[in-house]
């Protein structure tokens, strides 16, 4: 394994679109070559070297390459987007599209991330120690095939539109979420360990949601069907089981209508 370390030396005047900061783009390159990789600041084509001090050469392949960014990247978009293997660690915050369209590998951010984290994700792991803004693991505008696989774990809170049009994979929000959890989803799992304002599973066709806190405003299209014991993230707990969204279309499987499941932690 080879480690490439980036140290921010300049804050971009606008925003640096660092779409080249991925193990795939770095693979097989020396520190000097990596510094020459391009990015955009508005319409100006810049390089990674303009904003970061690069040290260490990359490995032969993406899987052999670890990227460590030591510093704040709150104005650097697209870190680790479309990556297939290897790892990216950001010791600080990251901007939009962190791990967007990613297929494999690992991303770890110690700070907060902005919106569109893990958009259209297909595989791999994203771990955020801080909070995420809106659209975690959602679909790109107009695409009805959202997140297909992989895991996103946000240790803090998240905003709205979590897992929109989700088809697979897992999203775990360890604190609270705002509104619109898994709208239009047709698969996948969303776990929210804190409270949610509302609109959990609106227009949802298929898939599972777990809420360990409270839901302030329940969707009228969900009905309680029983109480079940479930293991969530390693802990077994009792949940009230709801099915829905009854207003939405639902497919049939083996003669049975398939609904989306909402497991809301039962009152003690």
């Amino acid at each position: 394994m080879a480690t490439v370390t980036l140290k921010p030396i300049k804050t971009p005047e606008l925003i640096f679109e660092g779409y080249s900061i991925t193990p795939d783009a770095f693979a097989g390159k020396t520190a000097q070559q990596i510094a020459g990789l391009t990015g955009h600041e508005g319409k100006i084509v810049t390089t990674i070297g303009d904003f970061f001090e690069v040290s260490g050469n990359a490995g032969e392949t993406a899987a052999d390459t670890d990227i460590i960014i030591n510093g704040d990247c709150a104005r650097v978009k697209y870190i680790g987007s479309k990556m297939t293997a290897g790892s990216v660690t950001v010791n600080g915050n990251a901007d939009m599209y962190l791990g967007g369209w990613m297929k494999g590998g690992k991303i770890y951010v110690t700070g907060n991330v902005d919106s569109f984290c893990g958009i259209q994700m297909q595989g791999g792991e994203i771990l955020i120690d801080g909070d995420a803004k809106n659209h975690v693991g959602c679909a790109y505008r107009g695409d009805w095939r959202g997140m297909k696989g992989g895991t996103i774990r946000i240790r803090g809170s998240a905003g709205n539109d979590i897992g929109t049009f989700m088809l697979g994979g897992t999203i775990i929000i360890e604190k609270n979420a705002f509104i619109h959890v898994a709208p239009h989803a047709e698969g996948g799992t969303v776990i929210i360990k804190g409270d949610v304002e509302g609109r959990v599973g609106g227009q949802m066709v298929k898939g599972d949601m777990y809420v360990l806190g409270k839901i302030k405003f329940m969707m009228p299209g969900y009905q309680k069907v029983g109480t079940v014991e479930k293991e969530v993230d390693g802990v077994t707990q009792t949940f009230d089981h709801y099915i829905g969204d009854l207003g939405e279309r639902h497919p049939k499987s083996k003669g049975q209508i398939v609904y989306a499941n909402l497991y809301l932690k039962a009152a003690a």
Binding site: E13, L14, E41, F116, Q203, L246
Partner: protein, 458 residues
């Protein structure tokens, strides 16, 4: 002899009334009377008579005052400023014609700008819902001739679209709606008792910001399932009654406005409304329409979708492709996040409509306003370029709220020396081409151009 011009389009709201009659002075420079228009449309025409209308661009001086400068100088400054910026933002276009929108798109391409229109703070979320879920819509003519149940959801046409109810939705007698209002059942969903709600047969006064839950309750009831006792503050029985009215309609028409697009959930509210419309079509005919605000705010959606594939929030900074993702490339987000370094406000008033923090960020960089009148955006601008008023002294194509194109006409002669939006943007485009040593291919390809004068076109 004053002249009476008939069949004039009104450049105010999204209803784009095309039955206005305007009495103009003999020399076609003054508007004397305006017939048929609402009070706002009426005033809009009379504004053109204002003798204090700016006739020359005004540039901000180092001492903070504004000084009149020639058009050539303003065009040169605008071209240079936009070319020098890393990421300019061009915003507006609610109140201009499609010719201007098409011309500005070429500047945006040249300058690597973000191109956005008033939908971004208006019906932009409707576009997102339409991307996600389709748009089972119709024209206003169909609404007039067929609809016997009309739903106004989060909109107040009595104030925002004053003639909408009399021309299209409640009062007119159509082919299948010969009895007009007598034959129509009007539902209004609004947290406030608006004048439209007072006019409605049924007012569902929901809790503010709970439209999505109410749509979901409507859909659940329609599918035959039970719902909680109250949803969004409305009792179950009232919801069931409303669903029954819509189900039994011959043709149900849902009009929705800012109440859906700019309360929590935004595109999801509209998305749910579209799903509900689709569900209702299993029982009867149902259609849905966005109550677009300005007379040609549907225009940029049409023009730019044709040019770039996206209706708004179009980031052209890469030069190779257009990128669109509201939340990132939308004007207010770009401004709040300090992602742009030049702002061009065209035919709208960002100074009045944007959050103050967004305007404060935009003001750190060059700020250009293109507008026929003085407005808040022109008063804080570094450069204010006056143009003609589309629909009053400049003709052009506009798209009504139902995306029907209408040819608007000029009723009076334009102020001498003042260009139209289209001419101004073509001048800027030509200057940009000169500065970058490129060929003005767009002007060469434009056979009906007004600038530079084409001898082949009289």
């Amino acid at each position: 002899m004053p002249k009476l011009i008939k069949g004039v389009g009104c450049p105010y709201c999204g209803s784009s009334c095309d039955d206005i009659e305007v009495l103009v002075s003999d020399d076609e420079t003054k508007i004397l009377e305006v017939h048929n228009a609402c009070i706002i449309g009426n005033n809009l025409f009379h504004h053109a008579n204002d003798p204090t209308r700016p006739k020359l661009p005004r540039m901000r001086q180092p001492d903070g005052s504004m000084k009149e400068i020639p058009y050539a100088e303003a065009v040169d400054w605008m071209a240079k400023t936009m070319l020098n910026a890393k990421k300019p933002l061009i915003y507006g276009f609610g109140s201009t014609n499609c010719e201007g929108m098409s011309a500005v798109a070429r500047i945006a391409e040249k300058a690597g700008a973000v191109l956005d229109n008033c939908a971004t703070i208006c019906h932009g979320p409707s576009f997102l819902a339409i991307f996600d879920n389709g748009y089972p819509s119709c024209t206003l003519g169909e609404a007039k001739n067929r609809a016997d149940v009309v739903v106004f959801w989060g909109c107040n046409p009595m104030h925002a679209h004053p003639r909408h109810t009399s021309r299209y939705s409640i009062f007119p007698r159509g082919y299948f709606t010969q009895k007009g209002q007598m034959q129509r059942t009007v539902l209004c969903v609004d947290p406030r008792e608006t004048d439209t709600a007072k006019l409605a047969d049924h007012h569902l006064m929901l809790d503010q910001g709970h439209d999505y839950e109410l749509f979901d309750a409507f859909r659940t009831v329609l599918k035959g399932f039970e719902i909680p006792e109250t949803v969004a503050g409305i009792p179950r029985e009232k919801i069931k009654e409303a669903v029954e009215i819509m189900k039994k309609a011959k043709f149900c028409m849902i009009f929705f406005g800012m109440g859906c697009t700019h309360s929590d959930g935004r595109n999801h509210n509209v998305d749910a409304a579209i799903s509900y419309t689709r569900d209702l079509n299993e029982h009867t005919k149902c259609s849905i329409m966005a109550m677009r605000g300005h007379y040609n705010i549907a225009g940029p959606g049409q023009v730019w979708s044709w040019q770039f594939g996206f209706p708004y929030c179009i980031d052209l900074s890469k030069g190779s492709h257009a990128h669109m993702n509201p939340g990132e490339t939308s004007s207010v987000d770009l401004a709040m996040r300090d992602e742009v370094d030049c702002f061009v406000n065209v035919g709208t008033d960002a100074g009045a409509h944007f959050p103050i923090q967004a305007v404060q960020h935009l003001k750190k960089h060059p700020f250009i306003t293109v507008d026929p009148n003085f407005c808040m955006a022109s008063e804080i601008a570094d450069l204010h370029i006056p143009v003609r008023i589309a629909g009053v002294d400049e003709p052009g194509v506009v798209y009504r709220m139902d995306n029907v194109p209408i040819q608007f006409r000029a009723v009076i002669k334009g102020l001498p020396g003042v260009p139209s939006d289209e001419e101004l943007f073509d001048m800027v485009y030509e200057r940009m081409c000169e500065l970058t040593n490129t060929q003005p291919i767009w002007l060469a390809a434009k056979e009906d151009r007004k600038y530079p004068q084409n001898p082949a076109v009289s």
